[in-house]
């Protein structure tokens, strides 16, 4: 109850606080530089020079405090020991390169990086194309989109039940084991199987992200000019040819944006691994490794070093993504 009332209060203060900030500063600006009277022209010019800064100010300030400053602080910390007080040069980086769990995390992150964006985009594209022209397409879309509304932790809990294993002699309650048994197989403790458990965790994210990919791609498919498709039909193209040779090339930019957006998300994947295996059974990933060293190992230096590795991996993809998105907008 305490939490609920606290959340409600936060929402009210947050939303009304923001609205009133923009409303009141705007009024204040108009009062200080009124657009009337003898200096009307100069005042209007001044006001419109200041206005963007007023509106951007909070965002720049917050981004500075919460994004820019931490980056520099992380770099500083990564050259210091656990407590952040003693300079140790490149020791953290040396340690990182030789650490087994780090190498395992890199391998797993690469797997995630290849599989999840590819699978989500593929399934999203298929779902978008298939639901485009059927009468209950919108209903199907909402169903596929629904996992997007579930938090990663919530989704992990759901899938944990699906992969659940109780062992010989007790009734299997996990959906996957129940299916395996129905087909005459033997039940397994799925999330403990080295390498394969990674893919089982990826399924959770694919399940969530397919809806996202589908919505964006379906909008892009609808945006394709009808003439190009009509022309192809008249020229006698088969449905598959139309899809691959006419439609896909025209939405290629959108596919790239969807792909890279999911890629960035995947590099940061954390909640799913934390909730389902916590990196046990060789399923560790970078973000969870960082969290482990920060809050279990209490080592700000090593945690920052891992954080920087993640940042270095994410940045180029992000730049490419932003460029693509801007090109799409033009």
């Amino acid at each position: 109850m305490e939490q609920v009332s606290f959340a409600i209060a936060t929402i009210i203060v947050g939303v009304f606080g923001c609205v009133s900030y923009f409303y009141l500063t705007n009024i204040a600006l108009d009062v200080i530089f009124p657009g009337r009277g003898p200096n009307a022209g100069r005042n209007i010019n001044r006001a419109s020079a200041i206005r963007p800064w007023l509106f951007l100010g909070p965002a720049i300030l917050l981004l500075g405090i919460y994004l820019v400053y931490p980056v520099f602080n992380s770099i500083w910390l990564s050259f210091h020991d656990a407590s952040g007080s003693k300079f140790i040069g490149f020791d953290n980086y040396v340690w990182l390169v030789g650490d087994k769990k780090f190498l395992e995390s890199m391998r797993n992150n690469m797997l995630w990086l290849i599989v999840v964006p590819a699978a989500s985009t593929f399934f999203g594209l298929v779902a978008a194309a298939l639901t485009d022209r059927i009468s209950w397409g919108n209903f199907a879309k909402s169903l596929i989109f629904m996992p997007m509304a579930i938090s990663f932790i919530g989704a992990s809990v759901i899938w944990k039940f699906i992969y659940d294993y109780r062992g010989d002699g007790s009734a299997e309650v996990g959906a996957l084991n129940a299916m395996v048994l129905a087909f005459g197989g033997t039940a397994k403790a799925w999330i403990t199987l080295d390498i394969w458990n990674n893919f089982l965790l990826m399924v959770v994210l694919i399940w969530i992200q397919t809806g996202f990919a589908m919505v964006i791609l379906s909008a892009a498919l609808r945006g394709i000019p009808e003439e190009t498709i009509e022309a192809a039909v008249i020229d006698g193209a088969a449905p598959f040819q139309i899809f691959y040779k006419i439609k896909i090339p025209q939405i290629w930019g959108t596919i790239a944006v969807v792909w890279t957006t999911i890629t960035i998300l995947v590099l940061k994947v954390f909640d799913i691994v934390l909730a389902m295996t916590n990196g046990q059974w060789e399923s560790q990933v970078l973000a969870n490794l960082m969290f482990d060293w920060m809050f279990r190992g209490n080592d700000a230096g090593r945690a920052s070093t891992i954080a920087l590795v993640i940042m270095v991996l994410v940045t180029p993809i992000m730049i490419w993504n932003i460029r693509n998105a801007r090109r799409e907008l033009r």
Binding site: E2, S5, I8, K100, G167, Q280, W281, R296, N298
Partner: protein
């Protein structure tokens, strides 16, 4: 719209206000089982207007319990104590102390993190007087002083943690009715326990339920097993050396203890569901096998808190009981007991915080919780009659009757080991890796710290 907003605001303030006033659970002076003198003595401290913030890991029913205790402090001194709990206490306290906005008092579930924070200079010295008090008034007092003493920022050893509320871990839970039906006796030695295990297998049943699953903390129940086995195969100074890493993790004496755990957990016939199920089975689900019909297993080794996860309606003492996880009769290592406990530290010094620690020394602060549920204490000055529950009382007797008491070793190791690779290593071990390989992995991380 306006009206509904006002209504929301009003109900918010109502809810916020409702949590405040708390009734005293047991009216002062009434019940002779309580040491009311110690309550009256608290009234000499006048703290009206003083606010004390306490931050700890207790939530839900535990939060209500600790608040019922705190209420006596508030009533006696007039202070206002704000307790808040979080299930990510360990993360939050690191942030709060680092950011310079700590609570007055932090309740650590284990000493490892307190050691770290003391080393960074975030904890206040509790003083020689408190150290002397603990030495004199707690059973095995010196060991509690040692457990609460860490190096400060300047490297100087001081008392930073005051233990309050203790758990006993060396327990095996069973269902007396099942034992009676099958004609089994409670084993008095480890040899007997192993014989009983084989006996149950010979009778076509499964002796043990073992589950290591615990979400992000998967693997910890195995660390308790290994610690108990260390205390049962090696003298206590070897245990201490292991915990401080003077004795390496891959020492044969340590891998021997790991294999003693493996003797039970890696045998498909011994554990319900087979050895493959052990690592992923949730520790909260695991004891339920005892109560199935027919029982999936006959015994479950777990700490004194586990009845909270028994199925609804199970009465401890009737439907379920425990026995001391026995020692080898052939080894002459006495009656070692493994335990754990929460410690209170001052993270932001104030007159109120000091007074609150004085309150924790008063028998009444222990008795109020004893008279409810789930509380054990090494305090020798409390009236044991305050335990409503004879089961809890006999648990406390195990604590007081220990020849050796040792604190949960994984809680004392650095966080990266005790809450990191030790867990992972145990999961790998149950999955089939050898004790030597697992121990070498853990040692190599320890070496890198």
């Amino acid at each position: 719209m306006r009206h509904s907003l006002v209504a929301v605001a009003a109900s918010v303030s109502l809810i916020a206000g409702a949590t405040h006033a708390q009734e005293l659970m047991f009216p002062p002076g009434d019940d002779p089982r309580f040491t009311w003198d110690s309550y009256e003595a608290l009234k000499s401290m006048d703290l009206s207007g003083e606010t004390i913030s306490v931050f700890g890991p207790w939530l839900g029913p535990d939060k209500e319990l600790v608040e019922s205790v705190i209420a006596y402090f508030e009533a006696a001194t007039g202070a206002d104590v704000q307790y808040s709990g979080s299930d990510s206490f360990e993360t939050q306290i690191v942030i709060d102390t680092g950011a310079g906005s700590p609570p007055n008092i932090a309740v650590f579930p284990q000493p490892g993190l307190a050691t770290d924070l003391a080393g960074k200079g975030f904890l206040s010295d509790l003083g020689q007087e408190t150290a002397d008090w603990v030495r004199d008034n707690y059973a095995a007092g010196q060991s509690w002083v040692d457990l609460g003493t860490y190096a400060g920022k300047d490297g100087e050893q001081r008392l930073y943690g005051f233990f309050y509320k203790v758990d006993v871990k060396s327990l095996v839970w069973y269902v007396p009715e099942n034992f009676e039906d099958a004609g089994y006796e409670v084993p008095q030695s480890m040899e007997d326990l192993k014989a009983l295990t084989d006996q149950i297998v010979a009778d076509g049943e499964t002796p043990w339920c073992v589950g290591l699953g615990s979400g992000g903390a998967t693997g910890w129940p195995a660390t308790d097993w290994v610690e108990d086995m260390m205390l049962r195969t090696q003298p206590p100074d070897v245990y201490d050396g292991w915990v401080s890493n003077e004795i390496k993790f891959n020492d044969p004496r340590v891998t021997g203890a790991i294999d003693e755990f493996g003797y039970f957990a890696r045998n498909d016939d011994y554990v319900a569901g087979g050895a493959g199920a052990v690592a992923s089975l949730d520790f909260r689900e695991s004891p339920k096998g005892l109560f199935e019909s027919p029982p999936t297993c006959y015994m479950h080794r777990q700490a004194s808190f586990i009845p909270a996860f028994f199925p609804e309606g199970v009465v401890v003492g009737e439907d379920a009981d425990f026995f001391y996880f026995p020692a080898y009769s052939g080894m002459d290592l006495g009656r070692p007991v493994l335990g754990a406990g929460t410690l209170f530290s001052i993270t932001s010094d104030s007159r109120g915080a000091r007074a609150f620690l004085e309150f924790l020394k008063a028998p009444i602060a222990h008795e109020v919780w004893m008279a409810q549920t789930g509380f054990l204490t090494p305090h020798k000055g409390v009236n044991p009659d305050a335990f409503i529950d004879p089961v809890v009382r006999s648990l406390n007797d195990i604590l007081l009757g220990a020849t050796t008491f040792r604190f949960d070793g994984s809680d004392l190791m650095p966080g990266a080991i005790g809450a990191g690779v030790f867990w992972t290593g145990m999961v790998d071990y149950v999955g089939g890796k050898s004790a030597e390989d697992v121990a070498a992995d853990i040692q190599s991380t320890w070496d890198s710290l």
